[in-house]
Subunit: 456 residues, 2 copies
């Protein structure tokens, strides 16, 4: 990622969060004189979206602590022309320019580019539903939405909150709102929460949510919102109406790829902007990175759309290196994710059973329960590890972990092993660290591997 060559003209970056500002910073480090313009439609840059639930739950107190670098800092310290409140409305590929609506006005201006990076992120998904426009219904989309929720909680003192969707954001928000002593219900279409886990592992997370007082309504979709005077009062499911002063949408996100689509740039799965390993789109001088772009899945070899901050940062670094004239390659993802729901840590990587069934892979699984530390060591807690492997080849395919403190980060062992194309048997002989405060003498992932090899 080094040996950067000479200037190649003006860079315009659409979006000033993880991917966009990682790229901008990388270009600036390599090319102190390069002309870099960042157009960001909100008032914020470079913040931690993942920290918003902790702001709302009161674990962190200052909005500012979520902002890694302010627009002012980018301008003053890094000499990057960041313009917030600027909304791009059109990409004109033929003319190599974007049309942008200026801050606080309806005026449209043209900004020419030599290289364009689209890093417009993603937005909360919700199927069309009656009442969706009512006040009190929130998706989590950037720092501004987090601040809105924070303010709504302070001003309106809602009592009954319904979270729709049991993915990471839904669960983290459910926990946060439980911390605030609200009555929290969660509606989830699938039989268990966290459907990026297999249902048997998801059931452990469902149980953890119940234990902190979240009312779960599983295998239950939602149909509409009950609204009075423009404010949400309930969530209507096929089975009941749940009273709600506030609703959080946790149904996942969709890429903000309309600008790209309208310009004729190729899209990939779920409408994300299709990129190669250099983060280049199918269009000359146009790049994409972050939650609006695709990634290669290293286990399946297929393009996927996974919107996570850690991936967005890597995308941005690679795109920035290439735009600055260097050579970098993003080799892809393996599907790693982690979350903490009160005391319970949850992690997954690789492929889950439903993905393997779709692919027609002949796989086996093993699930083991053991301890996070030596059994006799104080604070040793329960950990469940499920591991998946391919029958014909012995290849490792993925793992899921649910357990107490210290459990989840072990998923990184599996993520690294998946990247290396290891077999399940390879896991058994890994020279993993052991001491009583950290692990049983066989690390739980190795105990799972020892069970799984017998079935392959």
């Amino acid at each position: 990622m080094s040996n950067i060559s000479k200037d190649k003209g003006r860079v315009v970056i659409l979006g000033g969060n993880a991917a966009g500002m990682s790229a901008a910073s990388k270009i600036r480090r390599e090319q102190p004189e390069r002309d870099i313009l960042v157009l960001e439609k909100t008032a914020y840059t470079s913040y931690s979206s993942c920290g918003i639930p902790y702001l709302i739950g009161g674990l962190i107190e200052q909005v500012d602590s979520l902002v890694v670098r302010s627009p002012q800092k980018f301008r003053e310290k890094y000499n990057i022309d960041v313009r917030t409140g600027h909304k791009v409305v059109e990409i004109d590929l033929a003319a190599q320019r974007v049309k942008v609506q200026l801050r606080g006005s309806n005026q449209i201006a043209d900004e020419p580019y030599d290289q364009l990076l689209i890093a417009t992120g993603a937005r909360p998904f919700c199927p069309p539903a009656p009442g969706l426009d009512a006040s009190g219904i929130f998706g989590l989309s950037g720092l501004a939405s987090g601040i809105h929720i924070h303010e709504f909680l302070a001003k309106e003192s809602p009592k009954n909150v319904v979270v729709i969707g049991g993915g990471y954001i839904g669960l983290e928000m459910a926990e946060a709102l439980t911390r605030l002593k609200l009555n929290v219900s969660l509606v989830q279409k699938s039989p268990e929460v966290m459907d990026t886990l297999d249902p048997d592992m998801g059931a452990l997370v469902s149980q953890a949510l119940r234990s902190i007082g979240v009312n779960l309504f599983l295998s239950e979709g939602f149909e509409a919102f009950e609204v009075e005077n423009g404010r949400v009062t309930g969530v209507i499911t096929p089975l009941r109406t749940l009273p709600a002063d506030m609703v959080i949408l946790g149904l996942g996100v969709r890429p903000n790829s309309d600008l790209a689509k309208n310009a004729g740039i190729e899209l990939g799965p779920r409408g994300a902007i299709s990129v190669d390993g250099r983060m280049q789109t199918n269009t000359a001088n146009v790049w994409a990175a972050g939650d609006c772009a695709t990634s290669l899945h290293r286990v399946t070899g297929q393009q996927v759309h996974i919107a996570l901050g850690t991936i967005a940062n890597k995308h941005g670094l690679v795109a920035g290196t290439n735009i600055a004239g260097g050579e970098a390659w993003f080799p892809g993802v393996v599907g790693t994710a982690v979350s903490k729901i009160c005391a319970v840590e949850v992690a997954r990587t690789g492929l889950q059973e439903k993905e393997l069934q779709q692919l027609g892979t002949d796989y086996a699984t093993a699930t083991i329960k053991t301890k996070t530390r030596a059994g006799y060591y104080p604070g040793s807690g329960a950990i469940t590890v499920k591991m998946l492997g391919e029958r014909s080849t012995g290849r490792l395919l993925g793992a899921q972990i649910v357990g107490m403190e210290g459990a989840a980060k072990r998923i990184d062992i599996i993520a690294t092993a998946l990247t290396a194309g290891m077999t399940v048997e390879d896991i058994i002989s890994l020279d993993l660290s052991y001491a009583p405060p950290f692990s049983p003498v066989w690390d739980p992932v190795q105990t799972a591997a020892r069970q799984l090899v017998k079935k392959l």
Copy 2:
């Protein structure tokens, strides 16, 4: 590690701890009828040596909680003939038998074997020094020695303890004795404690020890023990005499390989019994495993002697599988170790600078300081990661971590990457897990890799 075939006669195992009993258990699982005899010179089987400092420090209360399986349980539940208090005095290779001194007697008996597994462990090392035989001087060698220390502390109420040697055992014992409010001094020949780390990283551990009140005497060897009436009263160094009612030897261990050596079995580095990847010695029908045996270092390709419970268990599993007629291979170690000194976690894997200098490797290092979790998340603590890589190839060579809660287990990412032969650049794009309670958005090991690639 499956498809076990038929009986191949009587198995005799010398040593009933991690390696020996792992092997015995594996053989029993595969061959329910196999004749298995285990000869153990102490009264204990299958215990956690690594837990002894926590017993002494009072973190765990019952000796029994360190015993994974008792001799009785092995006999009754697993039908394994475990004879404790039986000391083997000779291996007769020609006659395929061992001579054993029976429990509580001077009587010697012969026990024939078809397959012999030597799993005799290791013993604390101490160079010859005047006064070494005095009472009050303890090495940590198995559960019995831990119990002796425990009893000595209760009966004699020592006030001043000197720990000689600042490796894992020395430091864990220093911490344990500090918990008991004793005045603890530690004498270490090298400039910093923990010389399996580079001195710059070891300095962080020295600092942690000072902060809990351990008096460090660094760059200071010891010459002799001061003794009165057969009891130790001081430790004499070139610079001073440290008062001591009790001394703990933490100078590392040496393999118990005299029986093998006297029988003419080939020894390797540091006098450990030389084995191949199947854990077979150079002698037909004789195997070795655990702290008395060598391992292949996967990074250097050289044989090494590393005495750790986690390796002993893997050795035992592989030896047991092969003795039972299966096919298993121990591919080696990468030099991983972890420890916790009060709140400070310490881990290392791969090669350190002095090893690389000895090998003549052209290497670079990078050291970064960051946080264990997102900076704004409660409980986020300091973490320092040092990473080493090879200049010509970009190959990852090792890493060292010192930090607060949640820091150390990250070493497993590096251990896995070393096993896979990854480059430093490969680390940057690993799809590691991220959420604010677990990590900054770039995992600290990736931040270190990003710094290191610039120097390669």
